[in-house]
Structure formats: structure tokens, C-alpha cells
């Protein structure tokens, strides 16, 4: 497929670009209805306890206030938990806004104000006074780790640690070289630029159109239908444009609940937009403590890998992500022991954030690998190459493709790794210590079940539709490219219709599986259109294509032709005219090849090389160069693909140096709930990033050879930065983010 592609594989500019750069792309809060109401949420100011009194008198006096909802007067909703479980729900009790008087986390929504204007709603919300009895809070994972437990119900079975193999403890004890260390990650928040919002159009008779900030329009639809007992055929959720999400918009959030609740109750259209602060009380990347122990022989062959991870979850749900299993499959090792537990804290339920689990766990492993390389006295890249593995030893399966050697080779060459002076503190430029560090990344290349429809019109125009979401990933563009390729037309002739729940069934946009899944569905549907077109062509008298199969034909320049001889064929318009058609539409369903998946598992891989300059006296780190070499299967669009990796690298730099949700553990409250004090990288922090896509053919990862790129870009980046800082300064800082204070207060290693 796409061997001589004309559209797929080209750096085509985003087809939604002109709408985005002119402000014409409308996001969830940017839709209007006459007479629309506005809602604003009141947030708890304690992290644990009970509401004992609610005083809404001041708020009710604000002009324009329509109604104030609390747990005492909220409308009836579904009783059973199963009705509240969305497609990404977790083991445990789903959070239900205004369920009762319990406060389970700081910033929990405890009241909802509806008013005629957004300002009235906002200002009245500030006048709702809650009286609480606060209880002692526990939010510090370091202090609470002794209460960790193995999740009694697994979120997904592949998140469970693999059974131990060999005898890791014994091998570790007897090894020539070994390191063992604890790695701590502070909690992070996604902070997509767009504020969470929902605009609900009340259409009467149980019908609603809802513009929601979500990574899955059908997930939002099914959630509100379950919670409010609505008819799924009458509810349309749209997410035509999504202003970033990074996992935070996988599960429906309270704004959607409140908007639909109030719309139903008041029979009015309503808009609810969160504040930036409110977004610090949603899904977050959980704080995590890991212990990684590695041992090797004198040549650097890994003899033991032990990885124990404990991350945070909430009181009411057991969030789980695959933190530690990567350590059992990234490198060849026959003595492996992996363990994984979670611990309840008085915080909102964590959730998936870009490369959930891997960003955290591979970071620890890759820092530990660097430590081991120094312990043995070999080059960190050589250590990785030496322990290269072709099989997934956790699952004992073959890997569909692994061009990681090429990542190492091409990345190292582009970076100039061979020029590196190995000793820490050996490279200097004025007041700056210079450090070069590297790390590997890995992410599971997943394909899920998905559907798509493709329609070809007699005039050659193509429409592709699926309930997929483009959260900045380039989905519009790559789906258009795939269709344009099959129909040999310009991408301008393709209309891509996504972001609507009444389109063909598609899972949430996450895990880097959209390109593989929806892309394959579009390609399959497009091929089905050709097959149907051929049937119509063969009913023509006479038909030059009478005796051929659909595998022998293709579309070229507006004609259905023999692949082997383009002279033989019929114009699309003529075929449709002969059958009295104006268009042909086909629907396709795809899913992973279950048979192949019994033998194979698929991963994307990366090697990332980082240069830092550290002003050690002042604790300032500048990341001055990054080379990220990616083995991610087929690249549908190098321009948008590169951007995906850039984004991962930038977020990885943030993880390494900046990002931390600062909790006052006395009260369990997040205190830097804004973009001035929760630092994400700014322009000045990001120099040029060099992205390399190495050649990687893979006919098993997905029908179109795609592995997905949304996650792999971030995996390993924080470790590469931290390893570079070690190389620069001799300081091994194992708690992220590596801020000024940590550089100043860390000791230089012997």
C-alpha cells in the first residue's frame, strides 16, 4: 500500500490550518444560541471533609442569577455506577458531581451557578459560601507510600506486572556492577491551552446538540445518555476542534455534567466554561515513586532488572497506568522482577497524560541505565546497544518491527555523540558546564476497533467521515491524504468530516491509535468504494473491466483502470451515470488482527539526544540542542508527524525542568493552580529540535503500516535531560522537576 504514493508521505500543510490561523475554527465554548444561559462551578476549598452548610443568599442576589445547584437540590440522576462509567472509566466509584456532602479532593465541584451572563455566573459563584468540617488530609506520596496496595481490579490486564523471570534478586546480589536508586516524579497537570467547556443547545423533546471539549464525542454522548437517561439517537456531541487535551479530555468532565443537567432542568441552552484554576482539579499525571535496580556483568550485559513503582490514585477510583513493565521488555535480560502498586491520596483521580506510565517509568529506567553505564564505565549509548532485544520477553512475543538501531545510529550521528567526552564535568563553555545525555523511548503501537465511511461522488469529490477527533494531531489532514491517495485526487477534493458523535463509531482519541485505526478504516472503506464501483462498471455493456477483480483495479486521473494498464478503464463519472448514481458510499470496520497479535506485539521506539548548558552556581539549565530519532512505522505526513514529536519533546523538557503541581500537604491543596506559577516551557526555553524519522516498514502494526506518534515523542526526554545534567555537573537528581534549588542543593557524585 502507498508504495508509489502521491499524497501519503508528503509534507502537506494541515487542511484545517487556514481556519485555525484566521480564528475561524470554533472550539467548544465558541457556539451561541439565543437566550443561552451560562454556568459557573463553585470549587471546594478543603481536600477532605464534609459540607455542613451552604449559604447561597449573597449569590442569589446577584442580578441575572437563575438557579444555584448544590448536593441538596440537584436533579435526580442515574443511581447505578454502571450508568456513570464512561469508555475510559476506572475500577472504583466514578466521581459524581454534587453526589452528597463528602469532599474528596481540593477543588471538587460543590455547587453550580446558572445565570444570564457569564460574568453574573462567575461573580455569583464567588459569593456562594460553603461551611465545612475539614478532616486531616494525606496528599504526599512520599509520606503515604507505606499504604500502597496492588490494585484489586486491574484496569487492563496488560498493566499488571509480568510474572518474574529468572531470579532477579540473586542475580543482582552476585553481579559485578549494580546500581539501585529511587526516582520521584511530582504530579503534573496537562494544561491544554483551551479551557474545558461545553455548549449545550436545548432542542426540546429530549434532543440536544452539545459542543464539548473531549477526545471522544461518542464517549461524551454515551456518558450523558447514561447519567441522564437520554436517547442516544437524539443527542449529538460535536468536537470539531479541540484546543489540546493530552489525555485530560479522555473522560467526560464535570462541565459536561453540569451543562446537561441544567439544560434539562431549565429547558434552556447553556454554556459552561471552566477557569484555568478549575483545570487543576481534573485528571493529572500521578506523582510516582519508583525504585529501579540494575545489574550487569563486566561487559555491560544486563543480569538483573528490578523495578518497583507506586503511584497516586484518588480515594474513590483506582487509576492505573503501565509504569514499570517497560523495564522488562526494553532490554535483553533474563532476571527480571517488576512490581506495581498504587496509593490513595486525597486528590482528584489521576488519569492518562501523554504517554501515561511510559513517560514516568521509562524515565526512571533510562536514568538508571545512565547510572549503570557510569558505574561500569562504558558509554551510555553502547550499554543500550549491547542489551538490544528483538523479542518482548515479558509476553514472549515477537516484535512487529524495531528500527531502534537506526534511531541510535542516525540520532547519534546527527547529534555528534561520538565527540562526547565521557567524564562528568569535562565539557565547559565559560560559566556553563555542558552536558550531553541520551535516552531511549518506547510506546506500545496500538490499533483499536474503528469505523469510517467514504463517499465518492460522480464529480470526483470525496467525503470521509468518522467520529474521530483532531486534538492537534493532524487527523483531518492524514485522513484526507489517505483518501486522496486511494482515489488519486488532490487533497482539496476531499472533505474530512470528523468530530461528531453521529458519524461512524470511533474510540477516544488517545494512546496514539487514531492514525492506525481510523486511517485503516478510511483506507478499507475507500477500497470498498472501488470494489463497488467495479461492480457497477462490470454491469455496463460492454465493460472493458468485465473480467477483473477489485484487487486488479485502481483509480487514476478520475478513471477506474487496470492497475497493470491504465489505458484500460472507464471514467468514474461514466460508471455512475450508467448506473444512475451520483455517488457511492461504503462503510468499513477495522480492528487489530487478533491472530497476528497472538504472536506479535508492536512498539514504537526512539532515541533522544540532549545537550544542556548548566550554570551551576545559579542553578540554571538551558536545553540547547535536541535530536529525537523515531522509529514509528510509516509516516503519513512528515510535517504534522514532526510537530507531534516536537510537542512531545517540549512537554518532556517541561517534565524534566519545570512542571510540578505544588501541594501544601498541610491542607492538601494545590497552590500553583495557574499558568504563572505552574510553569510549562515558554518560547525562550525551546531551541531548535531536530526530528529524524528512520525507515521502518511494518505490515503488522496496522494495515496501513502506521504506529502512531502522539506519545513516543515525550518518552525518554526527561531522562535524556536529566542524564545530560549529570554529564554536565556530576549531579544525579532523581526527583523531577530539576529546578534551581535541586541543582544548588545536590552533591556532585564521587
Amino acid at each position: 500500500m502507498f508504495d508509489q504514493s502521491k499524497v501519503v508521505g508528503l509534507p502537506i500543510s494541515r487542511i484545517d490550518g487556514p481556519l485555525k490561523v484566521t480564528g475561524q475554527a470554533r472550539y467548544a465554548a465558541e457556539h451561541f444560541e439565543p437566550g443561552m444561559l451560562f454556568g459557573h462551578v463553585v470549587l471546594a476549598t478543603i481536600a477532605s471533609g464534609r459540607l455542613i452548610a451552604v449559604d447561597v443568599r449573597g449569590a442569589e442576589r446577584v442580578p441575572g442569577v437563575i438557579k444555584i445547584y448544590t448536593h441538596e437540590n440537584r436533579p435526580k440522576t442515574a443511581y447505578r455506577d454502571s450508568k456513570w462509567k464512561d469508555a475510559v472509566a476506572l475500577p472504583g466509584h466514578p466521581f459524581r458531581p454534587l453526589e452528597n456532602d463528602r469532599v474528596l479532593f481540593d477543588g471538587q465541584p460543590v455547587a453550580f451557578v446558572v445565570a444570564e451572563t457569564p460574568e453574573s455566573a462567575r461573580d455569583a459563584a464567588a459569593l456562594v459560601h460553603m461551611h465545612y468540617t475539614a478532616e486531616l488530609t494525606h496528599t504526599d506520596i512520599v509520606a503515604e507510600q507505606h499504604n500502597s496496595y496492588e490494585p484489586p481490579v486491574a484496569r487492563m490486564k496488560q498493566f499488571l506486572p509480568p510474572p518474574p523471570r529468572g531470579d532477579a534478586e540473586q542475580a543482582f546480589a552476585g553481579a559485578s556492577y549494580k546500581i539501585s536508586a529511587d526516582y520521584i516524579l511530582s504530579g503534573e497537570h496537562h494544561n491544554p491551552m483551551e479551557l474545558f467547556a461545553a455548549t449545550v443547545r436545548f432542542e426540546g423533546d429530549g434532543a440536544f446538540t452539545i459542543y464539548d471539549k473531549t477526545q471522544g464525542s461518542q464517549n461524551s454522548r454515551d456518558y450523558v445518555c447514561g447519567v441522564f437517561d437520554l436517547d442516544p439517537d437524539k443527542v449529538i456531541v460535536r468536537n470539531d476542534f479541540v484546543g489540546g487535551a493530552f489525555g485530560q479530555a479522555l473522560r467526560p468532565k464535570h462541565h459536561l455534567f453540569f451543562a446537561v443537567m441544567a439544560s434539562l432542568d431549565l429547558s434552556r441552552s447553556i454554556k459552561v466554561e471552566m477557569s484555568r484554576r478549575e483545570m487543576f482539579y481534573l485528571t493529572w499525571r500521578p506523582s510516582c515513586i519508583q525504585t529501579v535496580s540494575l545489574a550487569a556483568d563486566t561487559e555491560g550485559n544486563l543480569e538483573a532488572v528490578l523495578h518497583h513503582a507506586v503511584h497516586a490514585t484518588s480515594r474513590h477510583e483506582d487509576y492505573q497506568e503501565n509504569v514499570a513493565n517497560w523495564s522488562g521488555l526494553a532490554y535483553k535480560c533474563d532476571n527480571v522482577k517488576i512490581s506495581y502498586e498504587i496509593v490513595k491520596l486525597d486528590l482528584a483521580t489521576p488519569g492518562d497524560m501523554r504517554a501515561p506510565g511510559a513517560a514516568t517509568g521509562v524515565n526512571a529506567l533510562e536514568t538508571a541505565m545512565d547510572e549503570l553505564a557510569y558505574e561500569i564505565g562504558i558509554d551510555p549509548l553502547d550499554l543500550r546497544i549491547r542489551n538490544f532485544v528483538h523479542r518482548d520477553q515479558n509476553l514472549d512475543k515477537a516484535i512487529t518491527s524495531k528500527a531502534l538501531h537506526a534511531c541510535y545510529r542516525e540520532g547519534a550521528a546527527r547529534f555528534g555523540w561520538s565527540e562526547r567526552s565521557p567524564a562528568p564535568r569535562s565539557m565547559q563553555e565559560g560559566n556553563d558546564l555542558v552536558g550531553w545525555g541520551m535516552a531511549s523511548g518506547i510506546w506500545e503501537a496500538m490499533m483499536s476497533k474503528g469505523e469510517a465511511k467514504v463517499r465518492l461522488s460522480a464529480d470526483g469529490k470525496v467525503t470521509v467521515s468518522a467520529a474521530a477527533s483532531d486534538i492537534g494531531t493532524g487527523t483531518y489532514t492524514i485522513l484526507g491524504q489517505i483518501a486522496a491517495e486511494v482515489f488519486d485526487c488532490a487533497i482539496e477534493a476531499v472533505t474530512v468530516d470528523i468530530g461528531k458523535s453521529d458519524l461512524p463509531k470511533t474510540g477516544v482519541e488517545g494512546g496514539s491509535w487514531t492514525a492506525a485505526t481510523t486511517g485503516s478504516a478510511v483506507q478499507t472503506a475507500a477500497r470498498a468504494v472501488i470494489k463497488s464501483l467495479l461492480t457497477h462498471a462490470q454491469s455496463m455493456e460492454p465493460s472493458p473491466l468485465a473480467d477483473v477483480t477489485d484487487e486488479q483495479v485502481e483509480i487514476a486521473e478520475g478513471r477506474l483502470v487496470l492497475e497493470s494498464n491504465h489505458q484500460i478503464g472507464i471514467a468514474i463519472a461514466d460508471i455512475m451515470a450508467a448506473s444512475g448514481l451520483i455517488s457511492i458510499e461504503e462503510h468499513a470496520k477495522v480492528g487489530p488482527d487478533m491472530l497476528a497479535m497472538k504472536k506479535y506485539v508492536s512498539y514504537s521506539h526512539s532515541a533522544v539526544f540532549v545537550e544542556v548548558k548548566v550554570d551551576e552556581q545559579l542553578g540554571i539549565v538551558r536545553v540547547t540542542r535536541v535530536v529525537s530519532a523515531i522509529a514509528g512505522g510509516r509516516i503519513l505526513n512528515p510535517k504534522t508527524a514532526r510537530s507531534q514529536i516536537l510537542g512531545g519533546v517540549v512537554m518532556g523538557i517541561g517534565m524534566a525542568l519545570h512542571e510540578e503541581s505544588a501541594i501544601d500537604h498541610r491542607t492538601g491543596r494545590i497552590m500553583n493552580h495557574n499558568l504563572a506559577e505552574y510553569h510549562i516551557p515558554a518560547h525562550a526555553d525551546i531551541h531548535d529540535v531536530d526530528v529524524i524519522f528512520v525507515e521502518e516498514d511494518d505490515d503488522k502494526a496496522s494495515p496501513i503500516g502506521v504506529k502512531g506518534l502522539g506519545e513516543i515523542g515525550i518518552v525518554g526526554v526527561a531522562a535524556a535531560v536529566s542524564n545530560a545534567i549529570f554529564h554536565a555537573t556530576g549531579k544525579r537528581i532523581r526527583r523531577l522537576p530539576i529546578t534551581i534549588d535541586k541543582i544548588l542543593e545536590s552533591e556532585t557524585a564521587e
Binding site: V21, G23, F32
Partner: protein, 175 residues
């Protein structure tokens, strides 16, 4: 002293300003920000709300040619000014050179910070203080991008800056 609360019983104040070349005569609450005026009252949603506190730059517009955070400007204080938003720069069929450069360099992903980045970049070139990529990075730092398109944004701005330096007619178009 001019007292704006002229009409007893009314909380709103009269406001006259120009937005993207169009004159507007409005009545606004004094606590309505320029950002809310644009996004809610006038349905000009090209200007984005990312933090509402001057911490992200998504709401960057030009007020009398100067880039500012619309979220921190009370609309009522802008009587008599001329505001330019992203909608005033170009349309999908007739892109401003900066908008075109952003598309070509893939200087955005989700697109939400983009109008603010573009308004900021257009103003940056008018200010005339940026000469190098380093300058661009520093002087664009008031616009956060969580998708991490920073280096592509710098590429886009650098291209327009270079064209402007070599071709004065491009300069006019860019402004």
C-alpha cells in the same frame, strides 16, 4: 470629572471603539473585559481565552497597534481606541503573510494559542526589536503553546521577518 454612570438605573456604560476597522457603539458593564466583549458579546471568538489572567497570551490583540492581553483590559477603558484581532488580519481565502507562514511551517497543532501567537508576531515585527531567532524567542515568550510548536513558530516569524527586510512591499502587506 466625567461620570460614566450617566443613566440612573443602568449599570452599563457607553463605549465607542473600532474593531478590525469597523466602528462599534456599545453599552457594556464596566467589569466586562475586552476579551469577554469580543468572545461573548460580539461573538468574535478568534481571540482565545486560555487563562483569563495574562499568563498565557492566547488573548493577544493589538490595541492602537500595541499587543496586549485582552483579558486584563476592561473594555470600558478602551473608548476611542482601535482594536485589531486575528479576524482583522486575513481570511482563509486571503491569508495575511504571517498566517500563511504559520500554515506553511506547521506553527501550531491544536490551533488554540495560534490567533494570539499570530497577533503577537505581527506586532513583534512592527515593534522592530527582533533581529535574531534568539530575539524572536524572547519577545514571543508571552505566548505559551502547550502543543510545543515553538520552533516552528520561530521559523514562521523568521521567514516573514526576512521577507520584510528584503522586500518593502512585503512589509506593508505584513502590517
Amino acid at each position: 470629572m466625567e461620570i460614566a454612570l450617566e443613566r440612573p438605573g443602568s449599570l452599563t456604560c457607553p463605549l465607542a471603539l473600532t474593531i478590525n476597522g469597523n466602528p462599534y457603539t456599545l453599552d457594556v458593564y464596566p467589569w466586562t473585559t475586552l476579551l469577554d466583549l469580543l468572545r461573548s458579546n460580539l461573538e468574535l471568538t478568534g481571540t482565545k481565552k486560555g487563562c483569563d489572567h495574562g499568563q498565557c497570551g492566547a488573548c493577544t490583540v493589538m490595541i492602537d497597534g500595541q499587543r496586549m492581553n485582552a483579558c486584563l483590559k476592561l473594555a470600558i477603558t478602551l473608548d476611542g481606541t482601535a482594536v485589531t484581532t486575528v479576524e482583522g488580519l486575513g481570511t482563509p481565502d486571503d491569508l495575511h503573510p504571517m498566517q500563511k507562514a504559520f500554515v506553511e511551517h506547521d506553527a501550531f497543532q491544536c490551533g488554540y494559542c495560534t490567533p494570539g501567537q499570530i497577533c503577537s508576531a505581527v506586532a513583534l515585527l512592527q515593534e522592530g526589536h527582533a533581529r535574531s531567532r534568539e530575539d524572536i524567542r524572547e519577545l514571543m515568550s508571552g505566548n505559551l503553546c502547550r502543543c510545543g510548536a515553538y520552533s516552528n513558530i520561530t521559523d514562521a516569524i523568521e521567514e516573514v521577518l526576512a521577507k520584510q527586510a528584503t522586500d518593502p512591499s512585503h512589509r506593508e502587506a505584513a502590517e
